[in-house]
Structure formats: C-alpha cells, structure tokens
C-alpha cells in the first residue's frame, strides 16, 4: 500500500483497485479500508480532500515523512528476506 504511494498521492478507489487487482494479495477490496484507516492513524499517510471532476470530493492519500522511512525500512528488509528465501528454495 505504501509503495503505491511512493511517487504520487492517490485517492482511495484507485489505491484499493490497484492493490486488489494484484494477484494473490487481497481477496476483498473492502478489507483495505480498515487498513487505510490504520495507516492514517499511525501517521504514515496523510489525507487531503480534493474536488473531483463531476463527482463528490475525494480523499487523497499521500506518504508522510514517517511513512517514507517506514517504506524504506520495509523495502530493505523485504529484499533481504526475498534473497534469503530465494537462496533456500532455488539454490
């Protein structure tokens, strides 16, 4: 979720659909909304309401500074984890 926000802010529907569209990650779009709320409460994302063309205002999500560092830490750890697992299952 945070990685999707790395380069640009996005609104919820966009985020949720993209993540749910990825194979094998989530089965239910709805369960991503509680996740978004948690990220907001933890202060790793911030939201702004913006007018949308021809519709109600949308809430846009963007990474905070804290969010960016959480993402960097995770990216590094994930690479290490992936390399380790790769080393075991495909030597």
């Amino acid at each position: 979720m945070l990685a999707l926000l790395r380069d640009d802010e996005r609104y919820a529907v966009e985020l949720v659909q993209e993540l749910a569209g990825k194979d094998g990650l989530v089965t239910s779009e709805g369960t991503l909304y509680p996740l978004l709320s948690r990220l907001r409460r933890e202060g790793v994302v911030e939201t702004t309401w913006r007018e949308s063309p021809g519709g109600p205002p949308r809430r846009y999500y963007a990474l905070t500074l804290a969010g960016r560092s959480v993402l960097d830490v995770f990216t590094a750890e994930w690479a290490r984890f992936r390399d380790t697992v790769d080393g075991i299952i495909a030597p």
Partner: protein, 248 residues
Amino acid sequence: MSTTRSPLIDRYLTELRGALREMPRRHRDELVAEIEAHIEQTVPDSASDAEVLTALDRMGDPEQIAAAERERLGIEPATAGWLEWLAIPLLLVGGIVIPLVGWIVGVVFLWLSRCWTTRDKLLATLLVPGGLALPFVLSVSTVGGVEACSTGTRTNQSGHQVTVTHCTGGTSTAVQIGWMVVLAFLIIAPIYTAVRLGRRLPPSGRSRRAFWLPGRASLPLLLAGAALGGAAVWYYQSTRAPGHTARV
C-alpha cells in the same frame, strides 16, 4: 447520493452496518461512508444486477470487512455472555425484585455490554425507565386513590347510632380507559425492548439463538418469572389487608 442506484447496494450497506454494530459509531460511519463512496464511484447507475453483484463480491463479505476493522481497533468479537443474559431480565423485572437498584444494575450491565448499539441501549434505558416496575408501582399506588371514603357515626331519628361510610371521588370512564391504555403501553414497551435486546444479540453459539430454550439464559429468566409471580401475589394480598374498610 444517487437515488437510482440498485437496491442490492443498499442491502449490502445495511448488512455491513449490521456487521459493524459493535464498533464505535464514528468508526462505523466513516468506514461505511468510504465503502459507499467506493461503490458509487465504481458501479455506474446503469449497471445490471449481475454487474452490481460482481462489484459487491469484489468488495467482500461484510463480516470479513468487520473482522478487518475489529483487528485494526483491537476489538475482540463480541459474544453474548452472562452480562447480557442478566441485563435483560434485570431491566425487565429487576426494579420489582429489588426496587430501583435491580433496574439500575440492569442498566449498568446493558451499557457495559458491547453486543448492542448505542441506539439499542438508549431505547432500552429510556423507553420505560424502571422496566415493569414503573407500571407495577403506578397500579399499586393508584388503587387506593380511585375512591376516597370517610367513615363516621351519627345518630339517626330513632336514637340509634349508625355507622355511615361516605364515599366521594371515583374517576370517570374516559379517564379510566386512558389510564388502561397508558398502563398497557407501560407493560408492553419493556417486554418489547427486552425481546428486541434478545434478538439483537450476536449469534454466539450455533443453536443458542433461541434463548428461551433451556440454556444459559433459562435460570435468570426463570428467576425473573418467579419473582414477578411472587410480587403479583404479594400485591394481591396487600390490597385486601386491613385498612380497607368495608362499606356498611
């Protein structure tokens, strides 16, 4: 909000709201609004039922969303336990068994429980404060007030002392009918809220849904019933006790 959207969406949102009933209202409203906005933006008004159902499937089972939200908030799934099964009879007849205190304990249990929404709790507390104790006390206290009698002696023409009872008051038929209606409401309303609270408990076991069948609930309900019966007998006795003078 569109007025032409599919009733399937409304039904889904109602289900979701129900699954989230134990969440704090603010969180519940926010999550439902977000999911509603998502559906509004992704499902056009012209979508066929099949398209709507597909979109709702993708959104996921309301129970599953509720589970994710519970996890986020660190809430254990609420199940009905002794607290709920004591709260219901206490609210209903607690005020008769232990005047005032019994009902107040019931209210405390009611508000401690996570199984009911704030609306359920407000209704159960405020519709008839005191539960069945209120109509009970009212009917006891007004029995003597219907007629006021005074008894005295006086001497009649032939020089004998006679006892005369003079009765005044008594209420008109209209007032009496009105009173009956109020009393009927005061009796039916607490029973209605008690049944409602019972029905709105989350399904805790597989078959314990029918809470009047033998199970964890039967003991408090039986005790409450016995107490109610006892109180009725006591009331009946007390109205015929000395102090009620017969007319001469």
